[in-house]
Symmetry: C2
Amino acid sequence: MTAEVPSFIQARDEADPIRMFRQRFSLPPGIVYLDGNSLGALPTATAPRLDELVRQEWGVGLIRSWNSHDWIGASRRVGDKIATLVGARAGEVVVADSTSVNIFKLLMAAIAARPGRKIILSETDNFPTDLYVAQGIAALLPQQTVRAVDPGKVLEAIDKDVAVILLTHVHYKTGQKYDMARITKRAHECGALIIWDLSHSTGAVDVDLGAVDADMAVGCGYKYLNGGPGAPAFVYVAKRLQGELKSPITGWFGHAAPFEFAGNFQPATDINRFLSGTPPVLALAGLEIGVALLAEAPRKLLFQKSQELCSLFIERIDKTCQGYGLEVVTPRDPQERGSHVSLRHPEGYPIIRALIARGVIGDFRAPDILRFGIAPLYLSFADIWRAADALRDVLVTRQWDTAEFKARAPVT
Amino acid sequence: MTAEVPSFIQARDEADPIRMFRQRFSLPPGIVYLDGNSLGALPTATAPRLDELVRQEWGVGLIRSWNSHDWIGASRRVGDKIATLVGARAGEVVVADSTSVNIFKLLMAAIAARPGRKIILSETDNFPTDLYVAQGIAALLPQQTVRAVDPGKVLEAIDKDVAVILLTHVHYKTGQKYDMARITKRAHECGALIIWDLSHSTGAVDVDLGAVDADMAVGCGYKYLNGGPGAPAFVYVAKRLQGELKSPITGWFGHAAPFEFAGNFQPATDINRFLSGTPPVLALAGLEIGVALLAEAPRKLLFQKSQELCSLFIERIDKTCQGYGLEVVTPRDPQERGSHVSLRHPEGYPIIRALIARGVIGDFRAPDILRFGIAPLYLSFADIWRAADALRDVLVTRQWDTAEFKARAPVT
C-alpha cells in the first residue's frame, strides 16, 4: 500500500473538515480497511476505557459499581447517544441484546398490536437473519405468513393484510437504499407497522426516524458504530407507540421496577420494556466509546463525506477497471445508496483474497459480490484511491488466478 | 477488616488444597467480598486478556480475527468448558444471550415439543426473571398457564398437564437447593420436560446434569463463573433432545450454515441451534477467563470447600449473633443448600449497609434478607470468620441504627 496518490486527492484530504477523526482510531499500518460495515475499526480510547472498567469499576468497585459507576444507566445512556445519529429523541432508543433478538421482539410486538392481520412483509433478499427470524415467527404463529417480494415491489405489496413490514434500510449486498419516508408513509396509510433494520446505515448514512415518523427500528453495534466484535444492538420505538407495543421476552430488566423483585411482571412504561436480561456492561462500554466518537462528528459532514468517498471509488473503478468483467452493483446515484460499494465478478472470491493480500481489506458475499464498506470517520480519499489502484492491479496482473487465492478458506 | 483470626482458622486456610486460587483474583485490600453470587470477582488474567483481544485481535486483526483467532468458535469453546462444571458432555452447552432470553427460548421450545399440555410449572418465589418470562409466554400463548406452587409442593404438582417445569436449582434468596435427581425423575415419569436454572449453582455447587438425565438448563455467566458484569449466559440441552427442540428465535447463528447466507432458515442439527445473533466476542473472552480458572480447580474440592465455608459462617452466626433478631434462613444441612447463606432480619437493609461500610460486602433482598455469597475459589476461612465478627459488631453496637444507613439508596 505504498502506491502514489495524486496531489489533488491529497488536497481533498487536507480540505476534509473531519479528517482529524482518523487519528482517534488504531488502524494497522499498511492497511486500507474497507470492511467497517462488517466490523468497525478500533477507537484509540476503547482499550484504556475497558481497562479502567475492568480493573477499577469491576475489580475494585465490584457490585457497588452498578450504582456508583452507573452501569445500570448504560443501556439508556448509550441509546440516547445513538438516537442523535438516527434522528430519534432521547428515550426512544435503548441498547439491548443482538439485532436478531431485537427483530424477534419487535416483530412479535407488532403482530400482537395488529390482530387479524396475517402478513409479515419483507424482501426476498433481505439480510438472512431478518428473514430467518420472520420465518421462525411464522412457524410459531400459524396464522402468520411471510410475504417476501423483490425490493422494487415492496410499495405495491403493502396492503390491509400486512401486520408488519421488516426492511433493511441499506441492502447488505447491493448497498441500495430504500426510500424510508415513502415506504413508511405507505405502511401507515394501510395501517401496517414498519421496522427498519438500520444495521448498514447507522453512523454512515443519513437517517431521520423522527422526520419520517418511523415506528420501530433495530441496528447493529459492531459495524459503523465501532462498538467492537459482537457489540450489543439497539432498539428504537417511537414514543407514541411505547405504551402499545410489548416485548414478548419479559425479562426482569424490562420490568417497571426490576429491583423490587415483585412476583408479577409489569412492563416498564417507556423504552426499557424492550430490555430483557442483565445488560452486557463490558460490551456496552466498548459501544459507548464508538458511539460517542461518532456523535462528536457533525452529522451532515459525516454523511456527505461517505457519499464523496463512495463516488470516488465508483469513478475510479469505472475509469481503471473496465474490461475485466467487473460490474458495479451499487447505485451510482448517491441518493439511492448507503455507504458501501459492491462489485460483481464471477471470480469475486479469489479477487478479494488477492486484494486482502495486498493490504486492502474488503469482503466477499456469495456467490459473486465484492463488498467495500466506506466508513467516513476514519477513511481518507487517499485510501479510496489506493484501494481502487490495488483492485486494478489484481485484475490486470490476474494475481487472483492462483491456487493460493482460489482455495476456499473457512468463511465468515 | 483487621480483626484477629484464631490460629485454628488460619490453620484451616493453610491446609486448604485450593487456597492458591485466591492469588489469581484481584480483590481490593481490606474487603471481604461475599457478593460473588451477584457479581463474581475479577480474575487477574482478565484485564490483560481483554487488552490483547482489543488491541491485537480487534485493532490489528480486524475482521480477519473471526477465523484467525477463532472468535467464531468461542460460544462452543466456552460452552464446552462450562460443561465440565455441570456434568454435561462436550457439545451440550453453548454460551448465548442472557439468562432471560435463554429461558424464553427453552420454554418456548419445550412447549412446542409437548403439544396439548397446558401448564408451565414453577415455584411462587422463583427468581423474578424466570417467573416474568413464563408469564410473558402465557400471555403470548393463550392455551398456556403458569402454575406456581410452594417449593415444597413442586413434586406433587407435576402431572400429565405439565408441558415444562422451570426451577432454579438453588434459590436466590433462601439458598435452598432442590433435589434435582428426584424432581427430574418425576418430570420424566409424567412426560414433562424440565429446565434447571443453574444461575446460583454453576461454579460453586455440585451439579451433574448427566447423572440426573437432565433435559435443559440455563445459567448465568457473571456470578460464580466470574465472567464480568453482564457476561453472557449459557444454555444446556441434552444431546438426546437436540434434534427435537427448536429455538423460537431463529437468528443466523442458529442456522446450519450461517455463512452461506441462504434464504431459508435451516436449524443447526446440534446445540448451535440455540444461538441467535452474532456472539458477543469481548464479553465471551471475559467469561472464558473466569470459566477456565474454575475448570482448573478439582470440582470435588471446590464444592466441598463451599460447604465448609457456609457451615463455618452459620456456626459463627449461631454462636455469636444470638439475641439480635437474626434468623438463619438457609438450611443447616449442607445437602439441602447451595453456596450462599441468607439471614432474615427486619432491619436487614441498614444492617447490610453498615456491614458494607465495614468492608464486608453482602447484599440485601427485599423485604428482609441479608445474603452472603460464598465463592470457594477466592474466599478463605479467615474471610468468613471476619465477616461473622463484623456482623456481630454491627448488631452489638447497633451501628445500623443511624440515618446514614437507614436512608434508602437506589437499589440494584
